[in-house]
Symmetry: C2
Subunit: 395 residues, 2 copies
């Protein structure tokens, strides 16, 4: 077990992130970049808070073409946002009756565009993104900017932001490795606390407690499923069903440490599980082996998908299960890129990914397998402890 | 302790919610209502999944002016969405290279508008809402609809949706009461597990485990702060600081049961906490008393705010702390309406609210207090166990 990583990041780390995004912005002549979401704002400022769960207040950060990010946030967040790196913080009393930060944000964006002598604003418009502010306010902001900037151009900054966030620093990787190690230990001792007869709600609760004891900060994501010789749903919460003999059980969890996720799953059999399920487990394990071999710098995501897909097709897969065989990982449970047949992003050192081959092996029966890796020069480093090749079965 | 409520809701409950929103839609001549967020879709369909934490895939529900809701969702969600109530489910393989549900959604919206002979589409545009889909896809959807519907009118359905969701059924209230009772018990025995010298990360972890043992499904939201004779920040995660003598500690938590939140906080002193902090605690407790008296059907939210504000001003408050003195509660940690000076929503029976008066009582020192209530004919029913009038201090 590695030691607990320190919390937060150095000022140098944030300076490096800022330099990287400003280099990307320069390629698109973006004078100002508007961020509205929890993950982008955490990445570029270090502001970490569960307060994002309240939808009441919008939070904004504007990154200029040169110079430091500017936070435009509710007063309640000023103390938590302030740091050696974040010094330009503008705030308003939120919630507000008529103007929840819109005029303050418009002013800030106009100032930033003027300073950079650019009329191009970057926002997130692409795949896997959203604008976290009320649509009325967004429209009002755009109206104000268009009224003040001749030839205002609003461009999609999604590829720029994703290109920067995809490459993890060693400090980021340390946090993901730590939380993955905590959870690997819990998965390894699952039979010590999971027993036939337990309700799924109790199983979920017990699993969560074990992860917390192991050292994770939060068990943000925990889904699972169980069924006779296989499961047919992996995204549901507890239903009240009790674990039964001949069940195959899957737990898929995203735990966090200091705002960074692991995301992997494990499968377990109870009693006389049939051979079909055991063979399916071995097939997805072998598909992961093929993925591990293919996950090297220079290969595309589509190539890694292809390597895993071939194994599953040869094993008689009747279909895949979740639309892809893995994805990026970091501040969010799932980040770009994805292992799909059409994803041409090239793997580079420092990308943290999941390998998640899955197959339908009988009508209504699926098997999904997942590991966490970081792309290294000579092949991937496993962050999760490798699953056993054969389905573990508790007799 | 009340018994554990059953999970899910009856078909009748969903039929009642549908009838209520369709009545609201009729007032605005809305032919179809597009929902994109976790909370709205859970409320109107019963679809509960932590899978929403992955931003990769969009999920949609369209409610027609008459007839059943239509789900337009990734294939991975079909099993979990299907129920006695939800039968019209249209899906696509997501993530998709070029069309992540947009054309299927456009088709569905056009069908619904044609059937209702209306050219008015309702979407969430207002306070505390967002559109959960990529902006590029939203623009593309709007272009398609405008190209096919002459005189398409897109209206803000936020007030309509909020009017329906604000009024909780007894089945909803049972879940909130249950989770609030679980957490009340943990708060009452906090001194049994919280000790001077513990790091905040350990305190957070221990508190979470206690809540899980008490019966909650998730500890989705947990923030806290501690400081000498008072704290100055209530939205931050653990920093590594150790609890010290003369500290005032606050924990504010939103735990869930079956998708429903409680949200309240408690304050604790350790060792020789000064009188200023103790008086501030008594003042916010008294402000809550005033709020409890004012929280009756027919009063506006602004009136309840006023009742609490008067107590705090008389107690020498140097300012308030979070921009409001409480808010709605249910599927989300915070829901409309808010107790602010400008919120004219009238309280009605069945609204579940938090009372959350807070004050700055010395420079850099705040005190926040919170209870959960449901508005009843003859005055509020407390869902959280009432905090003690005096700050509990562990010597």
């Amino acid at each position: 077990m590695s030691k607990v990583p320190s919390r937060g990041f150095s000022r140098d780390e944030f300076m490096a992130r800022l330099a990287a995004i400003q280099a990307q912005m320069a390629l698109q002549d973006i004078g100002g970049l508007l961020l509205t979401t929890e993950s982008d704002i955490f990445y570029f400022t270090g502001f970490l808070s569960q307060f994002w769960q309240s939808p009441t207040r919008p939070w904004f950060v504007v990154i200029p073409a040169a110079g430091s990010p500017i936070a435009v946030i509710p007063e309640i967040g000023v103390n938590a946002m302030t740091s050696e790196f974040m010094t330009d913080i503008r705030s308003w009393a939120s919630p507000h009756a008529t103007d929840d930060g819109v005029s303050l944000l418009a002013e800030t964006v106009l100032e930033v565009l003027a300073q950079s002598q650019s009329c191009t604003l970057g926002i997130n418009k692409g795949r896997e993104t959203q604008i976290r502010m009320p649509m009325n306010d967004f429209e009002s902001l755009m109206d104000r900017l268009r009224g003040s900037v001749t030839g205002l151009c609003v461009v999609d900054a999604t590829p720029a932001i994703q290109a920067v966030r995809m490459l993890k620093s060693e400090a980021e990787i340390d946090k993901i490795r730590y939380v993955a190690e905590c959870v690997s230990g819990v998965f390894d001792r699952l039979f010590a606390f999971a027993e036939v007869g337990m309700s799924d709600a109790d199983l979920f609760r017990r699993f969560t407690i074990e992860c917390l004891h192991a050292g994770v900060d939060t068990v943000s994501y925990l889904v699972g499923g169980a069924g006779q010789h296989g499961y047919d749903d992996i995204i549901s919460p507890p239903s009240g069903r009790r674990l039964s003999t001949e069940d195959v059980l899957i737990f898929d969890t995203g735990c966090t440490f200091d705002g960074y996720f692991c995301d992997f799953d494990r499968n377990y059999g109870f009693g006389g599980v049939n051979d079909l399920a055991k063979e399916a487990h071995h097939s997805v394990w072998q598909a992961t082996e093929a993925g591990l071999k293919a996950a090297v710098p220079g290969n595309t995501c589509a190539q890694v998908f292809g390597a895993m897909h071939e194994v599953l097709m040869n094993a008689g897969a009747m279909g895949e299960t979740v639309g892809r065989y893995g994805h990026g990982l970091g501040i969010q449970l799932t980040e770009p890129p994805s292992f799909t047949p059409w994803e041409n992003t090239i793997l580079r050192e420092g990308m943290v990914m999941t390998l998640e081959p899955g197959m339908v092996y009988a009508p209504g029966k699926m098997m999904v397998h997942e590991e966490n890796i970081v792309i290294r020069r000579d092949g991937p480093e496993l962050l999760s402890r490798r699953a056993p090749p054969e389905l573990p079965v508790k007799q």
